[in-house]
């Protein structure tokens, strides 16, 4: 297996969307190729860091305008 195949299949590998034989081939390659292993590992960390990041709290002015708009519209819908 070539390093290029690892890149092409990277997303499917990380998302566990590969058939077992291709997955095994990739893992065999990763055990031998440090560059590919680091690319897989750091791409996986990239996803984890974004996925686990908490959004900043809503700016207070933005929050106030949102709730004012909701109050206005929701009460109009109700009545």
């Amino acid at each position: 297996m070539k390093c290029k195949t690892i890149i092409v299949e990277l997303a499917n590998y990380l998302d566990e969307e590969l058939d077992p034989s291709l997955r095994a081939e990739i893992e065999q390659h990763l055990n031998k190729c440090q560059d590919c292993r680091l690319i897989v590992d750091t791409t996986k960390k990239t996803i984890q860091i974004f996925c686990n990041s908490e959004p900043a709290p809503l700016p207070e002015d933005t929050r106030r305008r949102l709730h004012e708009a909701l109050q206005k519209r929701l009460h109009r819908v109700r009545t």
Partner: protein, 212 residues
């Protein structure tokens, strides 16, 4: 020399990302017209929806408008929510539509989600550096937030939006394809490229050689 095996991604959800048990009850109450129940749902998701619309539009005014319109539309159309998906997933789809409309209005000639893309092979340099076990811990929360926001802002819209839905909002590939009216292979190719581009952008902050 044997090397450690890299397993599949197992991301532990943060407490705020876990669907709270009371969500179906709140949705049912809101459907019955109870405004306070809907306001509780809004309070629960407003920061995440604002981050979503801001990441898509890259414009604070548009992001705020899109967020407001998304919550208002969600309330007005709550009767159509059948509970086949999480309420949050349904809300994300509404917010994405609102944000895309804003983005297309501002940049009508720039935003095409279905343009052809190639693989991200050229995005992978050799001589790759290790990041260590928890590279994000080297930065404070505000600083890390700034690094992530800048990195995602530098992606072109087709990649930014697919990554946002798939890897931040955790929609499935199929849900992302449906929300963006793209084919599943198109979502996958954009996702691969987005992940590789972001990896490359974060490398300069997290690479051990840069920080040692």
């Amino acid at each position: 020399m044997s090397s450690p095996k890299i397993g599949p991604i197992k991301v532990s959800p943060l407490p705020s990302q876990v669907v709270k048990d009371d969500e179906p009850i709140l949705v049912a109450s809101a459907k019955a017209g109870e405004i306070s129940a809907f306001e509780t749902l809004v309070g629960r998701y407003e920061s995440k929806i604002y981050r979503l619309t801001l990441n898509i539009t890259q414009n604070r005014e548009d992001a705020e408008d899109a967020m407001q319109e998304a919550f208002l539309k969600a309330f007005e159309h709550l009767g159509e929510f059948e509970g086949n998906s999480r309420f949050y997933t349904w809300l994300v789809r509404i917010a994405v539509n609102q944000a895309l409309m804003k983005l297309r209005k501002r940049r009508p000639n720039v935003v095409s989600l279905d343009e052809q893309v190639d693989t991200g092979e050229e995005l992978v340099q050799r001589d790759v550096q290790d990041w260590g076990p928890s590279p994000e811990d080297r930065y404070g929360q505000t600083e890390l937030g700034g690094i992530l926001s800048s990195a995602i802002a530098e992606l072109d819209p087709p990649f930014r939006i697919v990554f946002q839905l798939r890897d931040i909002e955790e929609l499935s590939t199929e849900e992302t394809a449906e929300a963006l009216k793209l084919s599943v292979p198109a979502v996958k190719s954009r996702l691969l490229r987005a992940r590789l581009k972001l990896r490359q952008k974060l490398d300069k902050f997290f690479s051990r050689s840069e920080n040692s």
